[in-house]
Chain length 332, copies 2
DNA sequence: CAGCGCATTGCAACCGATTGCAAGTCTGAT
DNA sequence: ATCAGACTTGCAATCGGTTGCAATGCGCTG
């Protein structure tokens, strides 16, 4: 437990500085000293205390990873990617589960107490102001899956949700659906609103289209299912853009209850292309979001911020594309 | 960023000790001093550096959370519960993603470098020796979902997997399945082997049963699906115990490919009772594992270990029960 | 008013490291 | 043999807090 620099120094018969230096990259130590120290260190099972050293170096290698989405299976993929990408670079994810909180104050305070080197806000629902609060508190921050902007206030990595909305509308139209609908995530989610905006923008170009919209209570299976069940009570549209794969899968379940076949009776197109959407039993036509690249790029950005904290805020927007599967009828 | 104790002390016109004391529970400070300090602290936006204080107190409130399962959706629920339970108690989860690693050495070293107060190994596949390595290195540890034992070497919280195997076999038999099979997780997973053992134990009591077994490559949808597809090539059994819900769901997908109806043509019983199993389109009969209680209890145990590090290792085993849904035919 | 006890306060050492600086050592060239 | 210059090394200050100890001040009692 308590084997420290001093113990190693004593055993190796050198000063504490010498020990410290053998463990820091590029410090000046002779081969002889180094080997004495390494031998002593191994003998005692010493490994340097990262937190103590952070005091003087000002670097903890801790990265706050903040999310509010623990009900959408896509986020398991997201966590997997993030934790691995961070680890590979010697950074440590400190998780903040934001469920039931929308104010950044607490998270900011907490992450500052732990002197995180940077924070990643991984959420498609939180507004830019949330991430900005970290920036304002002096914590370098990247908002992954955040709202894209031409002149962002903080670093943003993600997709152009407005464009995805347009893309979905174009796709539905290209397949001959006339009465189309948007089934989005919660109204207070930036991604839900942006996709909505794009969708409507595109629709309005085409007077032959009839459009409707609704918003689920959350990005979750249950919410998607319930919303679609409600729609089926009234006169539903012919084709829907569901603002997320998990909503789509919930909606598919509702269709199945009513004996409706997706792709035949009603069209569904999702967004994300999560693992589950590829399952044969789901086989969801969807807009692919390049999660892995987005995450890698986010972590790259974190590393660059650590080198240059005053880096000018940047938006890295990745293109999406439609993945053809079975829940939309063929193009005309 | 850099507002410290000293700054607050200077502004408030008191010593650094006084400031420190107003921020530590149960220290002796007069009301007057306290209010001066609090005023100054607010003015400067001061919050104490948790890592610096950990140096002298020996407590970081960091808890290592180690897992190797980022492909089973149940783990999103697990992470959600864990991170919330820890946060509620003022503890911070430091995640270790163990994908592709089976040796504890690296994780142990890393978590010691960050002086975590304790570690939680959340995995049903890792052997007891894995958690033991933390214990041996002086890091208090709880193995959640670990192998139960009557005299465990480290704290274990979870279920009795052997008993679950028996339960599944009894259940299949009670429904009149004669040729039954075990479709387990990977052979090197302790849970897969324990469930197997219980299953076989029960089966051997009943000469009328004919039994087969196989092991999927992972606890994942794809692995379950592939394994079941392979089984369907030969002469499959009438009813299967799939060692986990996600394997079951993969298996269901394979059945569907072959036009087989679960519960009618072939019976399936899973284990976990994850959210997805309740979806109408899945409707999986399964053995419920009380995840939430297990996690709460694990975090309780962590707190108790912090108070008394030499606490005698304990196994907390929670009972499971069968949840009747649609993938097994009715009891006779 | 003296004397006592207690609560409050500041000093200074310490937690486990890093690092600027000056002193010491070694090398090789002259 | 001498010396410049480059390496090594240890000292001591520092990072941001905590805490034992002694000193101070206070209110009370007698």
């Amino acid at each position: 437990m308590g084997v420290t620099l001093k113990d190693v120094a004593a055993l190796a018969g050198v000063s504490r500085s010498a020990v410290s230096r053998t463990f820091t990259e590029g410090a000046s130590v002779s081969a002889k000293t180094r080997s004495k120290v390494e031998k002593a260190a191994k003998e005692l099972g010493y490994s340097p205390n990262a937190l103590a050293s952070s005091l003087t170096t000002g670097r903890t290698k801790l990265i706050g990873l903040i999310s509010n989405n623990f009900h959408n299976p896509i986020f398991l993929e997201v966590f997997d990617q993030f934790t691995r990408a961070l680890q590979e670079r010697g950074l440590r994810p400190l998780i903040v589960n934001l469920t039931d909180e929308t104010e950044p104050a607490n998270s900011v305070r907490m992450l500052r107490q732990y002197s995180v080197d940077a924070a990643i806000v991984a959420s498609s629902t939180l507004p830019p102001s949330f991430a900005k609060a970290f920036h304002d508190a002096g914590v370098p921050v990247v908002h992954t899956f955040g709202r894209s902007a031409t002149s962002p206030e903080v670093h943003v990595v993600g997709i152009d949700n407005v464009e995805c909305g347009r893309m979905a509308a174009r796709e539905l139209r290209a397949r001959g659906y006339k009465r189309i609908g948007y089934l989005g995530g919660p109204k207070d989610a930036t991604s839900a609103m942006d996709r909505y905006r794009g969708f409507m923008e595109e629709v309005e170009k085409h007077p032959d289209l009839e459009v409707s919209h609704s918003f689920a209570g959350a990005y979750s299976f249950e919410a998607g299912r319930e919303e679609m069940l409600a729609l089926l009570e009234e006169k539903p549209a012919e084709g829907y853009f569901c603002g997320d794969d998990i909503l789509s899968i919930g909606a598919l379940s509702a269709l199945s209850d009513h004996g409706l076949k997706p792709g035949k009776d009603i069209g569904i197109i999702g967004l994300n292309d999560m693992e589950m959407s590829r399952w044969e039993s789901v086989n969801l036509t969807t807009i692919h979001q390049p999660i892995k690249q987005i995450i890698t790029s986010s972590v790259d950005l974190v590393e660059e911020m650590l080198k240059d904290p005053d880096r000018y805020p940047e938006a890295r927007i990745f293109p999406c594309r439609v993945i053809e599967r079975g829940t939309l009828r063929p193009r005309l």
